[in-house]
C-alpha cells in the first residue's frame, strides 16, 4: 500500500493538473501536484526502512500474457529501489516546491507541473520495475517527459530542436535496449528479473548464434542493455543531447538532467549486476566508456560560457565516474555517488536557476559577476554544492568520489588503471571549471552593472529547497557510508557481487597517496581557477590565443555535433528525398502503374481496330478465352 501510494500519487497529481488545470486554475493545479508529490516523498522516506530486508514485490496487474511472454506489473522493493525511490521522490518534491517560485510568472503552470509529476511517476515506475517491459515503460516514459519539458517553451526554435534531439538520440539508445530485451527473451524465455538473474550463472561463458555470428551470451545481452544506458545517461558517443537539453526550464535541468533521469543508466547496470558480474568484457566496455566520458566532458566544461551548460557537462562527467565505478565491479560505489551527486548537482542547478531568475534569464557567465552580496543564500549554498562536487573533505562528494578513485585503483578489471588516471585528471578539471563558474558569477565586480543592479535574492519558496539540498550536500556522504561498507549488509540481495569481487574490501588498503590524490587534484584545480579568474584575469585570454586550435576544439565540444550532422542527419534527408523522387516516383510509378497505363493506352489504340461492333465476334473471342483457360487448367495444373 505504501509503495502503491508512493508511485501512483504523482500520476494522480499529474492527471488532475493536466486534465483540469484550465478548469481549476494555476494555483489549484500547482497545489494538487505539490501535495501529491509530498505524499510520495513521505512514503519514500518511510520506505527507507526496507533497506537491507528481504526483497519483495507488490503486484499491480497483469499487463500481457502471450505464451511464454508474460508481463506482470509489480513494484519491486529492495535496497536498490528503496534508495532510488528516496532520491527520486525526495528531490522531485523539493523541485516541485522550488518551481512554484521559479515558474510563478509563466502562463503554462498547470502544464509544467503536470509534466513534472508525470516524469516523477515514470521514473518511480522505472526504479521499481520487476521486469524488462515495465522498465522499458518507465525508461521511455521519462524520455517523453524529458522531451516535453525540454520543449516546454515551444515557441523557441532552439528549445524545439533540443527536444527532438533529446528524444531521437535517446531512441538510438532505446533501440539497443529493445534488442537487449528481445535477446533476453530469446535466451531466458522470460522478461522477469528474478528468472533472468537466477539463470545467469549457468549461462556464464555460453555462446549464442545470432546475427549470423557467435557471441558470448551474457556479454551480448549486457552490452545491448548498456547501449540503452549510454543513451539515457548521456555517455559517449550518445551524449550530445544533454547539453542542448538545457533549453528547458532550470528546475527541469535539476530534476531530470542531473539528479534522476540521467542516472537511470547507472541504475540499470547496478540492477543487472547479477548479469554484468559474469561478463568481464562488458564490464571493461562500461569502464572505458565511463572514464572516457568523464574526461571528455570535464575537458569541455572549462570552455563553456553558459552557466547551465557548464553544469550539464559536469553532470555528463560525473555520470562517467559512476559508470567507471560500476565497470570495475564496484556497483555499490556507483550508486553511492549517484546518491550524493543527486543532492549537490540538483543544488547547483537550482542555484544557477536562482541566478538566472534574478538576472531575468541571463545565462552567460561573462555577463555576471559580483553577485555574492546581492544573493547571499544562493551564493553560500552554491559554494556548498561546488565543494561537494569537487570533493572537499567531509562533504558528500568527498566520500563518494574518493571511493570511486580507490575502487579503480584496487580493481583488477580491464582498463581500471587507465580509468584511475583519466578520472584523476578529470578531478582537476572538475575543480577548475567549478571554481571558474563560482568566481565568474559571484566574485569580482559586476561586468554588466545594469543587470547586477536589479538582481535580488530569490523568494523563500526557492531558497528553502536550496538550503535543504545544501544540508544534503554536506551530510549525504556520512549518511550513506554504509552503502560502501561490505560488512553492513546494506544492499542485501539487491546488488550481486561475486565472491571473488573484493573491490569494496580492498578499497580500504590503498596507499596514502592514492587516498589523498582526489583532494590534491581538487586543490590544484581550485587554485588554478583562482589564479585564472581572480588573481590574473588576463591569463585565460592569452592562453586561448596561444593554443588557438586546442581552444577551438574544446569550444566546439570535440566537433561531435558537426560530425553527426554531416554523417547522419544530412545524409538521412538527402537519402529520403532521393528515395522518394528517384525510386517511388521515378522507378516504381514510372514502370508500375503509370507505365502499365501508358502501355495499355498504346495497346488499346491498336486493339481498337479489332473492335468490329458485331456481338458474335465478341462472343466468339470470349469462348476462345474460356476454352484456353480451362484447357490450361486441365493440362497444366490438374496432374
Amino acid at each position: 500500500m505504501l509503495h502503491l501510494l508512493l508511485v501512483f500519487s504523482p500520476l494522480l497529481g499529474s492527471a488532475v493538473a493536466g486534465l483540469f488545470g484550465r478548469l481549476v486554475g494555476a494555483r489549484a493545479a500547482q497545489l494538487v501536484t505539490v501535495v501529491a508529490m509530498g505524499v510520495s516523498a513521505v512514503c519514500a522516506v518511510l520506505g527507507l526502512r526496507y533497506v537491507g530486508t528481504e526483497p519483495f514485490t507488490v503486484p499491480v496487474f497483469t499487463w500481457a500474457v502471450v505464451d511464454g511472454f508474460q508481463v506482470e506489473w509489480a513494484l519491486r522493493v529492495d535496497s536498490l529501489s528503496a534508495v532510488m525511490m528516496f532520491v527520486v521522490a525526495g528531490i522531485s518534491f523539493l523541485i516541485h516546491v522550488y518551481s512554484m517560485g521559479y515558474m510563478a510568472e509563466d502562463p503554462g503552470i498547470p502544464r509544467f507541473f503536470s509534466y513534472l509529476s508525470f516524469f516523477t511517476f515514470a521514473m518511480l515506475m522505472l526504479v521499481t520495475s520487476d521486469n524488462l517491459i515495465q522498465l522499458y515503460f518507465g525508461w521511455e516514459g521519462v524520455g517523453v517527459a524529458s522531451y516535453l519539458l525540454i520543449g516546454f517553451w515551444y515557441t523557441r526554435a532552439s528549445a524545439c530542436a533540443a527536444a527532438i534531439k533529446a528524444f531521437v538520440v535517446n531512441r538510438v539508445g532505446d533501440f539497443g535496449l529493445a534488442l537487449g530485451i528481445a535477446t533476453i527473451y530469446f535466451v531466458f524465455d522470460s522478461v522477469r528479473f528474478d528468472d533472468i538473474f537466477a539463470a545467469a550463472p549457468e549461462l556464464a561463458g555460453s555462446r549464442i548464434a545470432v546475427f549470423g555470428a557467435e557471441f558470448d551470451t551474457l556479454t551480448l545481452v549486457a552490452l545491448l542493455l548498456f547501449v540503452g544506458a549510454i543513451g539515457k545517461s548521456a555517455q559517449l558517443p550518445l551524449h550530445t543531447w544533454l547539453p542542448d537539453a538545457m533549453e528547458g526550464p532550470t528546475p527541469v535541468s535539476a530534476l531530470i538532467h542531473a539528479a534522476t533521469m540521467v542516472t537511470a543508466g547507472v541504475f540499470l547496470v547496478a540492477r543487472f549486476s547479477p548479469l554484468f558480474e559474469y561478463t568481464p568484457t562488458a564490464l571493461a566496455v562500461v569502464t572505458l566508456i565511463g572514464a572516457a566520458t568523464a574526461f571528455f566532458a570535464a575537458s569541455v566544461g572549462p570552455a563553456q560560457n553558459d552557466i547551465k551548460r557548464v553544469i550539464a557537462y559536469s553532470t555528463c562527467s560525473q555520470l562517467g565516474y559512476m559508470f567507471a565505478a560500476a565497470g570495475v565491479g564496484a556497483y555499490a560505489v556507483a550508486i553511492f555517488h549517484l546518491f550524493t551527486h543527486a543532492f549537490f548537482k540538483a543544488l547547483l542547478f537550482l542555484g544557477a536557476g536562482s541566478v538566472i531568475h534574478a538576472l531575468h534569464h541571463e545565462q552567460d557567465l561573462w555577463r555576471m559577476g559580483g553577485l555574492r552580496r546581492k544573493m547571499p543564500v544562493t551564493y553560500a549554498t552554491m559554494w556548498i554544492g561546488t565543494l561537494a562536487l569537487v570533493g572537499f573533505p567531509l562533504t558528500a562528494g568527498y566520500f563518494s568520489k574518493d571511493a570511486i578513485l580507490e575502487a579503480t585503483w584496487v580493481s583488477h578489471h580491464a582498463f581500471a588503471g587507465l580509468a584511475f588516471w583519466l578520472l584523476l585528471v578529470s578531478a582537476v578539471l572538475t575543480a577548475f571549471y567549478s571554481g571558474r563558474l563560482m568566481f565568474l558569477a559571484f566574485h569580482g565586480t559586476p561586468r554588466v552593472p545594469e543587470l547586477a543592479e536589479h538582481a535580488h535574492e530569490s523568494p523563500p519558496v526557492m531558497t528553502v529547497p536550496l538550503l535543504v539540498l545544501a544540508v544534503g550536500a554536506l551530510v549525504a556522504g556520512y549518511a550513506g557510508l554504509s552503502m560502501i561498507d561490505p560488512e553492513s549488509g546494506f544492499w542485501g540481495a539487491a546488488i550481486l557481487t561475486r565472491p571473488d569481487n573484493e573491490v569494496l574490501e580492498a578499497m580500504h588498503g590503498v596507499p596514502a597517496l592514492v587516498k589523498w590524490s582526489p583532494t590534491l587534484a581538487m586543490i590544484v584545480g581550485l587554485a588554478l581557477a583562482w589564479l585564472f579568474y581572480v588573481r590574473a584575469p588576463e591569463l585565460p585570454e592569452r592562453l586561448a590565443a596561444a593554443f588557438r586550435p586546442v581552444h577551438r576544439f574544446l569550444v566546439r565540444k570535440w566537433y561531435f555535433d558537426e560530425i553527426y550532422d554531416a554523417l547522419f542527419v544530412r545524409p538521412a534527408f538527402t537519402l529520403a528525398r532521393a528515395l522518394w523522387r528517384g525510386v517511388d516516383l521515378g522507378l516504381i510509378d514510372r514502370f508500375g502503374p503509370d507505365g502499365v497505363a501508358a502501355a495499355t493506352l498504346a495497346a488499346t489504340r491498336r486493339v481498337v481496330r479489332l473492335q468490329t461492333g458485331y456481338l458474335y465476334h465478341y462472343a466468339f473471342a470470349m469462348l476462345v478465352g474460356v476454352v484456353a483457360l480451362v484447357s490450361w487448367y486441365l493440362v497444366v495444373v490438374r496432374p
Binding site: 500474457v65 522531451y147 531512441r171 529520403a576 508500375g592 495444373v637
Partner: protein
C-alpha cells in the same frame, strides 16, 4: 439473446439506415440534416450491437463463435456462413466504431451531397463487418471486392482535384490482385470441394500447388496492406480522399491485407507461408526503413502519414510471418492499434484542412498557441504512432520485435530501426505544425476543435491509452485464436527445420 443471428444483425442493420435515408424527401437543408441524423443513429446502434458480440464471446475458446449457417447458393453447395473468432472480433468492432467516428467527424465538414455521403458510409459499415464475419470464401469475396465500390465513390465524389488519377492507380493495383485471388479460390474449391473457410483451414494442399496459391493470394493481400513496392497507390489515394475516407482506408481497408494473411495464407498454406517468409521479411524490412525515410522528406501532411502507415504495416507483416505466438499476436495487435492511431492522425490532418484548406506542412506552425486541445490530441497520437509504452502503438511493436528476434535477429534489428526513424519524422512533423511561434496571418484566428470533433476523437483517445495500459484485454481472445494458426504452422516449421 444467444440464438439471435447477432452477426447478421450487425452486418445488415446499416442497410436499414440506408433504406430510411433513401426515403428522405424535402428541402435540401432538411434532407441533409435528416440524413446525418439517420446515419448517426444507425451507426450508433450498429456499434452498440457489435459490442454485444464481445459480450457473448468466450475469449478462452479458440474456434469460431456465434456461428450462423444457412443454405445460400444451394446448387453449388455454398452456404451463407458467418462467425467470429478472437481475431476478427476486434476488427468487427473497430469497423463499426470507425464508421460512427467518421459520421460524427464529418457532421459539419461535408456539405456536398450529404445524403449520398451518408449512404456510402453505411454501406461501408455493412461490407466491412461482413468481410470480417464471412466464413465462406464466396461470401468473403463478395464483401472483399464490394468494399471497393463505396470507397471509389467516396474518393471519386468527395475527393480532391487529382481523385481520378488516384482512383485509377488504386484500381490498377487492385485489379491484378483480385483476379488472381479469385483464381486461387476457385482452384482451392476444385481441390477440396468446399468453400468453407474453417474447412479450408484444415485442408492439406500439395506443397507445389501451395506455392502458386500463395503467390496468387499474396498478389491481392500485398497490394491491400500495402507492402513495398506495391504501396505507391496509398499516398495518392489518401491525399485525394476526404478525411473520413482516409480514416476507413487506413483504419480498416489496409487491415484486409493483414487479415487475409492470417485467415487464408498462414493456416491454409502453411508450407508455402514459411517458404516465402524470407521474401516477406525482406520486403517488410525495406518497407520499414525505406518508407520511414521517404516520410521524412514529405511536405504534405497526409502523404507523410500515409507513408508512415506503410512502415507500420511492415512491422505487421514481419510479425505475421514469424511463426511464434508473440510475433503473430503482436502483428494483429499492431493492426488494431494502427486502426485507432492512423484513423486519428488522418482526422488530425482533417481538422486543420477544414479550416485552412491546405495539407502543406509549410502552411502551419505555432498552432499550440491557439489550439491547445488539438495540440494535446495530436501529441498523444503522435506518441502512439512512434510506439511509446503506455499507448497502443507499443504493444504490437515490442511483441513483434521480441517474436521476430526468435526467428531472425537481423530482421528484428532492422525492423527496430523504425523506432528511431519513426520518432524522427513524426516529431519533426509535430514541431513544424504545432510548435514554434504563430506567425502566419492565416492562422491568427484559427479555432480549436469543435464539439463534434472532440466527440469523434474521444473514443480513439481512450482506446489508445486503454490498450497501452491494459493490452491483455485485447490480447486474450487473440492469443487463443493465434494458437489455432500456430497449430497449422508448427508441423510445417518442423518439416522445414528437418530439411
Amino acid at each position: 439473446m444467444s440464438d439471435w443471428p447477432l452477426l447478421s444483425l450487425v452486418t445488415f442493420l446499416p442497410l436499414v439506415g440506408v433504406a430510411f435515408i433513401l426515403f428522405i424527401r424535402g428541402e435540401p437543408e432538411v434532407v441533409a440534416q435528416n440524413s446525418r441524423a439517420v446515419a448517426l443513429w444507425t451507426a450508433l446502434v450498429t456499434f452498440l450491437l457489435s459490442l454485444l458480440i464481445w459480450v457473448n464471446f468466450d475469449p478462452a475458446q479458440p474456434g469460431f463463435q456465434l456461428v450462423e449457417k444457412s443454405p445460400w447458393l444451394a446448387g453449388l453447395g455454398i452456404n451463407y456462413y458467418m462467425g467470429v473468432d478472437g481475431i476478427s472480433l476486434w476488427f468487427v468492432i473497430l469497423s463499426t466504431l470507425l464508421t460512427l467516428v467518421c459520421i460524427v467527424d464529418s457532421w459539419y465538414s461535408v456539405t456536398y451531397r450529404v445524403k449520398e455521403y451518408m449512404i456510402a458510409f453505411l454501406l461501408m459499415d455493412t461490407l466491412m463487418v461482413g468481410v470480417f464475419c464471412a466464413l465462406d470464401v464466396v461470401l468473403f469475396y463478395v464483401f472483399f471486392e464490394g468494399i471497393l465500390i463505396p470507397m471509389y465513390l467516396i474518393i471519386g465524389v468527395w475527393g480532391g482535384p487529382r481523385r481520378i488519377y488516384a482512383a485509377f492507380k488504386f484500381f490498377l493495383y487492385t485489379l491484378a490482385g483480385s483476379v488472381l485471388f479469385l483464381v486461387a479460390l476457385i482452384v482451392m474449391y476444385i481441390q477440396t470441394g468446399t468453400t468453407e473457410i474453417p474447412e479450408l483451414m484444415r485442408a492439406e494442399f500439395d506443397p507445389a500447388l501451395q506455392w502458386w496459391l500463395w503467390l496468387a493470394l499474396f498478389a491481392s493481400f500485398a497490394v491491400k496492406i500495402p507492402m513495398w513496392p506495391f504501396h505507391t497507390w496509398l499516398p495518392d489515394a489518401h491525399v485525394e480522399a476526404p478525411t473520413a475516407g482516409s480514416v476507413l482506408l487506413a483504419g480498416i481497408l489496409l487491415k484486409l491485407g493483414g487479415y487475409g494473411f492470417v485467415r487464408f495464407s498462414l493456416p491454409m498454406l502453411p508450407d508455402a507461408s514459411l517458404a516465402f517468409a524470407p521474401l516477406v521479411f525482406a520486403l517488410s524490412v525495406v518497407a520499414v526503413i525505406y518508407t520511414s525515410l521517404v516520410a521524412l522528406a514529405q511536405t504534405d501532411m497526409k502523404k507523410l502519414i500515409a507513408y508512415s502507415s506503410v512502415a507500420h504495416m511492415g512491422i505487421v507483416t514481419i510479425g505475421l510471418f514469424s511463426p511464434n505466438a508473440p510475433a503473430i499476436t503482436g502483428g494483429i495487435a499492431q493492426m488494431i492499434s494502427h486502426g485507432f492511431v492512423s484513423a486519428a492522425l488522418f482526422m488530425v490532418v482533417g481538422v486543420v484542412y477544414d479550416r485552412i484548406h491546405s495539407r502543406d506542412i509549410e502552411a502551419y506552425g505555432g498552432l499550440a498557441e491557439r489550439m491547445p486541445v488539438y495540440a494535446t490530441v495530436f501529441m498523444l497520437m503522435m506518441l502512439a504512432s512512434v510506439g511509446l509504452p503506455g499507448t497502443s502503438g507499443f504493444v504490437g511493436e515490442i511483441l513483434v520485435i521480441v517474436g521476430a528476434f526468435q526467428v531472425n535477429a537481423w530482421v528484428a534489428a532492422l525492423a527496430a530501426t523504425g523506432m528511431i526513424l519513426g520518432a524522427a519524422y513524426m516529431l519533426y512533423l509535430y514541431r513544424r505544425v504545432i510548435f514554434g511561434p504563430l506567425l502566419k496571418d492565416s492562422l491568427k484566428s484559427i479555432r480549436d476543435m469543435r464539439a463534434n470533433e472532440i466527440l469523434a476523437f474521444a473514443p480513439l483517445v481512450v482506446l489508445v491509452l486503454f490498450m497501452g495500459v491494459y493490452p491483455q484485454f485485447f490480447l486474450e481472445p487473440i492469443t487463443a485464436s493465434v494458437g489455432e494458426v500456430l497449430a497449422r504452422l508448427e508441423p510445417a516449421a518442423a518439416q522445414l527445420a528437418m530439411r
